[in-house]
């Protein structure tokens, strides 16, 4: 809440608020930025009360500092390393998905991004018996695929049902619905934190599906919304101790590399193909770890292209099988 209202403090009477609004002071920030003498004149409150109000507002709205040790203890006690259930991927990620972080899977279309997400969702629901949220923005979630993976693994029928029931799917139409869902989810997770509801991973498939319709926006609304989404996700990740796994698209670009002037060559530059993740440089600093997938026949090459704790360019190869990625 940023707007001044009478619920904030008993000193904000109807009269005081009305006077403040008439002079263009609507929000907490407006109030704090103005010098107290002026506020005394406007609100007709004694100087002492204005100072009290300022202190009160600052105490209620400012962030608290905490020491590195507290932060460390907080992380040690609350974060979890969630195994993806794919041995080679776990080894690559240093044990699995660490809560409090945002992971991103990029790749060209048809490079098994959704396949990887489905496998991870299934593994977490099956072996760790945790609830997984799967946010589906382009109708790509397939229960049949998960069902056939489980069948291929020869899981008992009752366990199959239980596993499927642990995967919660939400279909969103646009970015705004995504925001609505995330905010509701945050409230739910915060409430259930005490009884440990075991939600550790939230999967979002996919980012371009919600963002690309903002691409050519003259007001740059997409950029603002992108930052807000990143902000919301980081907040939820840290506060509720969950990890986000996002799906992003990559596309081919042609970069011209200038060659040294060579009289024998008629071409002065060579075009090379580069595979770049979508959403631009702004999004680059949002995910803490970025995986690039490349499908080669029936294998998927996974390489780390950005990470805060894993050496770059390390990679692994996964096999595409009927039971998912192995």
């Amino acid at each position: 809440m940023a707007r001044l209202c009478k619920e904030m403090n008993s000193l904000f009477s109807e009269f005081v608020l009305k006077n403040l609004r008439l002079c263009g002071f609507h929000t907490v920030v407006d109030f704090l930025e103005e010098n107290p003498e002026n506020l005394v004149r406007i609100t007709k409150l004694p100087y002492k009360d204005i100072v009290l109000l300022r202190h009160n507002i600052i105490a209620n709205f400012s962030a608290f500092q905490s020491s590195g040790k507290t932060a460390y203890n907080e992380i040690v006690t609350n974060s979890a390393m969630v195994s993806t259930g794919i041995e080679r991927l776990d080894a690559l990620l240093g044990g699995g998905i660490l809560t409090g972080n945002i992971y991103e899977v990029c790749g060209l279309s048809g490079s098994c991004k959704t396949q990887l997400c489905l496998t991870i969702a299934m593994n977490i629901a099956l072996s760790l018996k945790q609830k997984v949220y799967y946010i589906d923005a382009k109708l790509d979630f397939s229960s049949r695929r998960i069902f056939s993976m489980l069948e291929e693994k020869q899981i008992a029928e009752t366990d199959v049902t239980e596993t499927l029931k642990r995967i919660e799917v939400v279909r969103i139409k646009d970015l705004y619905q995504l925001f609505s869902f995330l905010h509701t989810l945050r409230e739910n997770l915060a409430q259930r934190e005490l009884e440990s509801s075991f939600v550790r991973v939230i999967i979002l498939d996919s980012l371009p599906a919600v963002f690309f319709s903002f691409l050519n926006d003259t007001n740059n609304e997409g950029i603002a919304l992108k930052s807000q989404l990143a902000n919301t996700m980081k907040h939820i990740a840290l506060e509720c101790h969950v990890a986000f796994l996002l799906v992003n698209l990559a596309s081919r670009h042609f970069d011209e590399i200038e060659n040294l002037p060579d009289p024998d060559l008629t071409v002065s530059s060579v075009q090379t193909e580069v595979v770049k993740p979508a959403l631009g440089k702004q999004w680059l600093h949002i995910p803490s770890t970025r995986l690039l997938l490349k499908k080669v026949e029936s294998q998927v090459h996974v390489s780390i292209i950005k990470s805060i704790n894993i050496p770059l360019c390390s990679s692994c190869i996964l096999n595409i099988k009927d039971e998912g990625l192995v």
Partner: protein, 336 residues
């Protein structure tokens, strides 16, 4: 954490008005008073200019999409209707045909059977329930004037003949009853043709489809032949992608809301690589490939022999299926 107002799909004028009055977050507009959410009187006054019932308007804005677990999704997916293509191996690969509520793309060079496939699906979607069909209607959004009624009636006639043969041989009363209303004319009557020449037409007609479909509840198939043509006239690539995603967003909403299958056709384009021979790939780039659920590439081998390669299918690995286009439409290749 507060939700900023700019996270809501508000009209631009309304959001700037609210910002001027100092409303930054949803919690500013809707105040929690003793556990009961109440709209701020000033905000309510502003909202009233946009809607007669500000409370319901506000609730709709904040509505959270429902969650459903994968188990009930599995049941839904198994119950999903499918449109046969009349090519048995392709139907088997697709678990019974082109699925409703999903977007399927057919791409191929000119003359590779894309429009033929679309026309065939327009007929097949109408097969009566007695024959395990969907008994639906079809909307054909035509962007490059490729809709040929004479060809459609040829395919329709073949389909009607096939069904009446089945009914006669099986002496099935239900089937014979259904055949009374299933004729070439009824098939032609149940295909709605929309001609779009520019991308503006296309966008407008897709938005209008929502209204159209709420009146015509029987429609089970929307064909866009082709989606590439009107978009290729847009020079600015960013504008093209954003329009394309707008279109797809609308199509997805329509597909799941009205239980219809969406089939789009796409052209091919040349992919140039240094040091390699250039190859043909579906047009409109990676971003389009990302936004469809199923992708098939069609190609012509010889006179009436065609081939269909699956390029994207989450449930199964890629296959190549040969098929024929005969006078009666798409058919399985007969092995002699």
């Amino acid at each position: 954490m507060f939700r900023p107002l700019c996270n809501l799909p508000l009209p631009r004028l309304l959001s700037s008005k609210l910002r001027e009055l100092g409303f930054m977050y949803c919690d500013d507009v809707c105040i929690d008073r003793n556990g009961k959410p109440i709209l701020d009187p000033i905000a309510e006054k502003v909202l009233r200019q946009w809607s007669d019932e500000p409370c319901t308007y506000w609730k709709e804005l904040l509505a959270t999409p429902a969650t459903k677990n994968a188990f009930s999704h599995l049941q839904d997916e198994c119950d999903l209707g499918r449109i046969e293509t009349f090519c048995r191996s392709l139907d088997e690969y697709m678990d019974g045909g082109v699925p409703l509520q999903r977007i399927t793309e057919f791409s191929g060079a000119p003359g590779s059977g894309k429009t033929q496939m679309c026309l065939q699906l327009c007929v097949d979607v109408q097969i009566p329930r007695a024959f395990c069909g969907l008994e639906g209607q079809a909307v054909f959004v035509d962007t490059c004037s490729g809709f040929t009624v004479s060809r459609l009636s040829e395919i329709a006639e073949a389909c009607v003949n096939h069904c009446s043969m089945l009914a006669r041989d099986g002496l099935n009363q239900n089937m014979l009853q259904a055949m009374k209303h299933f004729s070439k004319i009824s098939i032609l009557e149940n295909v709605f043709h929309v001609l779009c020449l520019t991308h503006v037409d296309l966008m407008a007609s897709i938005i209008y489809l929502k209204k159209f479909l709420s009146k015509h509840k029987q429609v089970r198939l929307i064909v866009i032949d082709s989606i590439t043509f009107p978009l290729q006239t847009i020079d600015n690539s960013l504008q093209r992608v954003s329009l394309l995603y707008d279109l797809m967003e609308n199509l997805r909403t329509i597909a799941s809301e009205f239980d219809v299958a969406v089939v789009v056709t796409n052209n091919l384009t040349t992919k140039v690589e240094t040091g390699k021979e250039s190859s043909l790939i579906p047009a409109l780039g990676e971003s389009f490939g990302h936004s469809v659920n199923y992708r098939f590439l069609l190609g012509r081998m010889s006179d009436s022999n065609f081939v269909c390669v699956s390029g994207k299918n989450l449930n199964k690995s890629s296959v190549t299926v040969p098929f024929q286009i005969t006078r009666s439409g798409i058919r399985e290749v007969q092995n002699n």
